[in-house]
């Protein structure tokens, strides 16, 4: 760790990124606890439950894996499901790399902690940062979630049996609300609204037949293609959706 002798812009940006994710902790704590309880019920040890949060660090695929372990699925099936669920992270990296220049070392670090939520906040708040999105802000946002997710995992793995059921508290609605908070600021023109409506409804249709991560990947690519067609094929802003 470098102790910054000249005043470095890294830490203030890191702090802003870290705090930008605080509203999401409300949903992340019960979600992390619920994951840990599910994983323990599926037969994972406390250490294995924690190892998933420390390494893979992807809520949806950790939940899916816990369910699959519990159902006695094959190891390769679990790995393949994880791959499908997390392939959408390629899109996040591509999109972020347009906004922030990272050194090779910074990319190696930033990649480990990249999630839906950190990506969303970075891509929406980044342009409002002084000097634009920086590695400090991105890493602060990423580690904010990493810290709370791993703390919640540990709490759930150790104390799961005596805690109330998070699902009964209705915390599931916090996640769509959080993503809504990220979506609203980027709905800046009519093509964006059209893309959001069609991607959302398309994803709803796809979600009846496909796993969640693949749905996001397909609807995400399809919606962005539609948006690119809308804005490059014509000049004005009107287009019946």
């Amino acid at each position: 760790m470098v102790t910054a002798s000249p005043p470095s812009p890294f830490w203030p940006a890191f702090g802003r990124g870290f705090r930008a994710l605080l509203p999401l902790w409300l949903g992340m704590v019960p979600f992390g606890v619920a994951y840990a309880i599910t994983a323990r019920a599926a037969g994972l040890s406390v250490w294995e439950t924690q190892l998933l949060s420390l390494t893979v660090f992807a809520g949806a695929s950790q939940f899916a894996a816990a369910g699959l372990f519990g159902a006695g699925a094959s190891g390769w099936g679990i790995v393949a499901t994880t791959f499908l669920l997390n392939a959408r992270h390629v899109l996040y990296g591509l999109s972020l790399a347009r906004q922030v220049r990272l050194t090779r070392g910074e990319r190696l670090v930033a990649a480990q902690f990249l999630t839906d939520e950190a990506y969303g906040v970075a891509v929406v708040s980044g342009p409002r940062e002084p000097g634009g999105l920086s590695f400090g802000f991105l890493l602060g946002a990423e580690l904010s979630l990493y810290a709370v997710w791993n703390a919640a995992t540990l709490a759930g793995a150790l104390a799961g049996a005596v805690l109330p059921d998070p699902a009964a508290l209705g915390v599931g609605v916090v996640f769509p609300l959080a993503f809504l908070g990220l979506l609203v600021p980027v709905l800046t023109d009519r093509p964006a609204v059209a893309v959001a409506l069609l991607s959302g409804l398309g994803a709803w249709g796809l979600s009846r037949v496909l796993p969640g991560g693949l749905v996001v990947l397909l609807a995400g690519v399809g919606g962005a293609l539609l948006g690119a067609v809308l804005v490059t094929r014509r000049g004005g802003a009107g287009e019946g959706a």
């Binding site: 190892l51 899109l91 990296g93 591509l94 480990q112």
Partner: protein, 98 residues
């Protein structure tokens, strides 16, 4: 396969996906693909939201919470207020038996 081995393989398929996108940022892209990337957040967030609301067994309550939360965020641009207001509306909807 032991559980720790499966976990390490899960990591081995997740980390490269995250690194790949970040590493391709210096590609020079034509306008169509720049527009594509501009719309990725819009389409991805929408694809994360709608199935999570309409596909849920308690979708009427979640819909109420998200409409109220979305309106609050639109008017105030405040994420925390939107989440708390939406969560409150969800509980009101749940309280009245929706």
């Amino acid at each position: 396969m032991s559980i720790p081995v499966v976990i390490l393989l899960m990591w081995a398929v997740t980390y490269p996906a995250r690194l790949l996108g970040l590493s391709l940022g210096r590609l020079r892209l034509p306008p169509f693909w720049l527009a594509f990337l501009r719309f990725v957040p819009v389409s991805v967030f929408a694809a994360l939201i709608v199935p999570d609301v309409l596909g849920s067994p308690e979708w009427p309550r979640r819909l109420v919470g998200c409409v109220v939360g979305g309106l609050l965020m639109w008017r105030t641009r405040n994420l925390a207020l939107g989440i708390l207001g939406g969560f409150g509306a969800y509980w009101v909807a749940r309280g009245v038996g929706l």
